[in-house]
């Protein structure tokens, strides 16, 4: 592993100075990235000073530096996590072999697709959230938004580094295409549909970071197990930054629920004071949680089986050794499958084919944890209503449940029942209009919009009333 070079035009710990061809390729891509950032990144805030965390290293004892920075001047760098030089493949068919430092020819296309799909989500989310700054509920939250945005930009750099370094001309073309596709663009949209929805209010944003970014955590974690060592180390470091994004979402929705709970405990209808009622929050949770589950792909997937067998993608925390068999052979996964005659039957499929489902199960368990946490806040306030996570079969467009209608309890229902009830379960235009009407811009340090409680603490030991964004 090379030492960290913070003086280079592109900060890195991958020895760019010693690889002139790669450095030139990345320096050629850099102005295009900056042009992308100023054209379709956050609108109107590029000249302001934001108190941001910047990655400056990967070792123990602190990897980030906090200071005011204008976003276009942010030091987007390329960092790989440290790891043992003799790392071995720890799952799949080639267990015990040395990990790869080059892309094996037989896995080239599959690896490229994995990296491009992951990489495409990074700029997509920045584009989706570009207007949010104009209705921020506080300076604290505005800063959080931009922190998430710049780090998603850095994650794009991480994926582009892999493409430019290991995939030759194809990789360079893919790196260009990352900046050419745009979220919601009718002609050239982002690869995954969920990354083409606009995120126009802060309930959407917090649900996005709580649920969609959490999907990202599980995808990154499975890639962090990869036998392709540069990919594993790149994604390991991305996970360190991603943790903050998840926390932003989990705490953000939690703070909205807390504020609603406080008002309900006082006997105040949240709608009368510009806050968000629990039934609307529930519908947003339904929408974003179910959309996020679709990103895991089909529950029964030969692609997933091949990626596991070949050592490209492991299970969540595979290297911790929490699974019984690192080869995942001779075991089945019991999958509930809808049948033509309107019933649900359990079908055993080989475990390797169920790798997407296994990863999804880990994700759902994590989401249950955060919803429980939100509900404990309501309980503390003496409010009896609760937020509930819907069943995993509800409102699905990918996998074995797509094409069927289920209610949030997971019961198979007919089309008429769905049509009659779906507006009770998913956000309506009326809900969206109401939520948007609550989005007042608050930029006085220490003040918060009335629909959200303040956080428990500020950033990097700063007080909550700290001036996280300077407009002058």
């Amino acid at each position: 592993m090379s030492s960290v070079d913070l003086e280079a035009k592109i900060p890195n710990n991958v020895g760019l100075r010693d690889n002139k061809r790669l450095m030139m390729a990345l320096e050629k891509w850099q102005p295009k990235f900056l042009d992308w950032w100023t054209t379709v990144g956050p609108v109107d805030f590029n000249q302001h000073n934001i108190y941001l965390r910047t990655a400056v290293g990967v070792g123990q004892g602190g990897w980030a530096h906090f200071d005011y920075v204008k976003m276009p001047d942010y030091r987007w760098g390329i960092f790989l996590a440290e790891g043992p030089a003799d790392r071995k493949i720890h799952f799949g068919d080639s267990i015990g072999d040395k990990v790869w430092n080059e892309v094996p020819g037989e896995f080239r296309n599959r690896l490229r697709r994995l990296i491009v799909t992951q990489g495409d989500t990074e700029p997509a989310s920045v584009e989706q959230q570009r207007l949010l700054g104009h209705c921020c509920p506080s300076l604290y939250d505005l800063r959080s938004l931009f922190q998430v945005n710049v780090e998603e930009g850095r994650h794009l750099w991480a994926m582009v580094y892999l493409l430019q370094t290991y995939f030759g001309a194809d990789g360079r073309d893919e790196a260009e295409a990352m900046l050419e596709r745009h979220s919601g663009d009718q002609d050239n949209p982002r690869i995954l549909q969920a990354f083409n929805y606009p995120v126009t209010n802060w309930l959407d944003f917090f649900c996005f970071t709580a649920f969609m970014d959490r999907d990202g955590k599980y995808q990154l974690a499975s890639l962090a197990e990869s036998s392709f060592d540069p990919l594993a180390r790149t994604t390991q470091f991305m996970l360190a930054e991603e943790a903050y994004h998840l926390q932003t979402g989990e705490n953000g929705v939690g703070r909205i629920i807390k504020r609603t709970g406080e008002l309900m405990a006082q006997g105040t209808d949240p709608r009368t004071v510009g806050a968000l009622p629990l039934d609307i929050i529930q519908r947003y949770v339904h929408f974003w949680f179910t959309g996020s589950m679709d990103l895991f792909g089909g529950e029964d997937s030969t692609n997933a089986a091949e990626s596991f067998a070949s050592g490209l993608k492991g299970r969540y925390r595979e290297s911790d050794g929490i699974y019984k068999d690192p080869k995942a052979l001779n075991a089945n996964y019991s999958l509930e499958v809808p049948t033509e005659d309107g019933k649900i039957e359990r079908r055993d499929i080989p475990l390797r084919r169920a790798m997407n489902a296994v990863l999804l199960d880990a994700y759902i368990a994590d989401c249950k944890r955060i919803v429980e946490r939100w509900n404990r806040e309501l309980e503390k306030l003496g409010v009896s209503e609760r937020i509930a996570l819907p069943n995993h079969k509800f409102h699905r467009y990918q996998g074995v449940y797509s094409g069927f209608k289920f209610n949030p309890a997971g019961e198979l229902i007919d089309e008429a029942t769905w049509t009659h009830n779906h507006t009770k379960w998913l956000p309506t235009q009326q809900d969206r209009d109401y939520v948007n009407s609550c989005m007042v811009k608050v930029t006085t340090p220490g003040k918060f919009a009335n629909y959200i409680a303040p956080p428990q603490q500020g950033v990097n030991d700063k007080p909550i009333e700290f001036e996280y964004v300077k407009f002058h």
Binding site: G61, A243, D320, Y323, L351, A365, K368, R369, E372, R376
Partner: protein
Amino acid sequence: MTNRLCYVCEGGDCTEKGSGDVFDRLRDLIKTFDPNQERIKIRRYPCFGACDQGINVTLYPDKVFYSQVTVEDLPAIAKHIQGEGPKVDALCGKVPPDVEQIIWDMLDSPY
């Protein structure tokens, strides 16, 4: 290689309370009797969701959930991990049982 794990929470609240320092010091203490992680692996965990009771440290598959951990508690925790001391009861039972169970459910894989 062992499958016994020590997880130190690095969620936002635990990090604010100093879980990074707890992780480093506990890792160093464990290294003194288990330098190659043959008896236990120590890892960071994104969040256990028991934020009010942080800093949280868990032992798995022992299913021991230590809460409100400070650096002063670490020698006793390390001795327990080493098998040279008892479970530190004063740090257990602070988290509601259902919250603990969610964590064990997350870590228990049927596969």
